[in-house]
Amino acid sequence: MLKAGLVELSWTFFFQIINTFILFLILKNLLFKPVTEFMSNRQKGIEESLNEAQKKNQEAENLKEEYLTKLSGAEEEGRQIVKDAAKRAEERANEILKAAEKEAEQIKERASLDIERERKKAINSLKDEIASISMMAASKLIEKDLDESGHKTLVKKFIDEVGETRWQN
């Protein structure tokens, strides 16, 4: 078979340059471009999903914190309600107690007033009684008709003068 020279520049030179260009285009479009695009897309995808996961985690963390705050708030609120109720109850009890005391005081006061009035009334009626008795005794004694009303005042005056100190003591 015919052979070309070992070191002989020929048309092969141009063939090989063209071949190299064609091979470059083939490999660039069929191998390098798709593979690098695919890899960078995948990298982007992984980054995106990682970011997404992180975001979700953050959200969950926030929600958890919020709920915890709400929960402790509710607990605090409950405690406050109980405290308020206890305070109100105590106040009410004190009020009732005070009102009862006041009422008792009033009753006591009224009772003592009543007693005083009764006493005065009794003394007055006693005084009247004594006056009429003494007048009767006096009329019997002097056997003399006296003007009853004139004497009555006389006697009363006497009794008042004498008896005031006596009755008082």
Partner: protein, 233 residues
């Protein structure tokens, strides 16, 4: 020229008498294999990578990382070309293992690739520095060095191309000489079946095809990256 020797066989002629050599047909075959590989590698890509997808991802990612480390973050756009160069050269250099003539054992291939590198160096150098800044680079460190700078620039693709070509073609020649010698040895002892051709060449295949092949493809790609990056910075 033509006839006997280690040159590539002429497979057929295009209309107009343009010869198409083994180099070109093997390159086409490699291109086909890589195109099919790429097509199936990127189909059925899953979000959770499986074995094969892992391999493809690691391959592409390491090429991008290598470009990033060697050329810098801002020149990551060169990664597809550098990857093409690396993959093509690696497969072309170990093609000898599959009984094919390595396309890189042809100065046309290596000098063609070196020419692309040369054009890239100066095109992107001009694009990055501006024509004035780029031309000023030839007068540095002082204007008297202008001829030397020009020779240096022109030497780059030649050394780049011939380094790769020499390594691969040298290995190929040594291997075929060895096979010839082993065949003759078998005949000399009187065995019709060339038994010595088994096992003995294997370590040399590992060295010349695998080791030197991968190493040279790496060197060529790295140098291309460094030269282009240097021209731009």
């Amino acid at each position: 020229m033509g006839g006997e020797g280690f040159g590539p066989r002429i497979v057929f002629y295009l209309p107009g008498g343009i010869p198409v050599t083994e180099t070109v047909t093997v390159t086409w075959f490699i291109m086909l294999v890589l195109a099919v590989f790429s097509y199936f590698a990127t189909r059925n890509f899953d979000k959770v990578p499986k074995k094969f997808q892992n391999f493809v991802e690691v391959l592409v990612e390491s090429i991008y990382n290598l470009t990033k480390q060697t050329m810098g973050e801002d020149k990551l756009g060169f990664a597809p070309y550098m990857g093409t160069l690396l993959i093509f050269l690696a497969i072309a250099n170990i093609a000898g293992l599959f009984g094919l003539r390595p396309p890189t054992a042809d100065a046309n291939t290596t000098l063609g690739l070196a020419t692309i590198t040369f054009v890239m160096i100066h095109f992107f150098g001009m694009k990055s520095k501006g024509v004035g800044g780029y031309l000023k680079g030839f007068l540095e460190p002082f204007p008297a060095l202008l001829p030397l700078n020009i020779i240096g620039e022109l030497a780059t693709p030649v050394s780049l191309g011939f380094r790769l070509f020499g390594n691969i073609v040298g290995g190929m020649i040594i291997m075929s000489l060895l096979y010839g010698a082993l065949g003759s040895l078998s005949n000399a002892i009187g065995i019709n079946i060339p038994v010595f051709m088994t096992a003995i060449p294997a370590p040399l295949h590992i060295y010349f095809d695998l080791f030197a092949g991968i190493l040279q493809s790496f060197i060529f790609t790295m140098l291309t990256m460094v030269f282009v990056a240097m021209a731009m910075d």
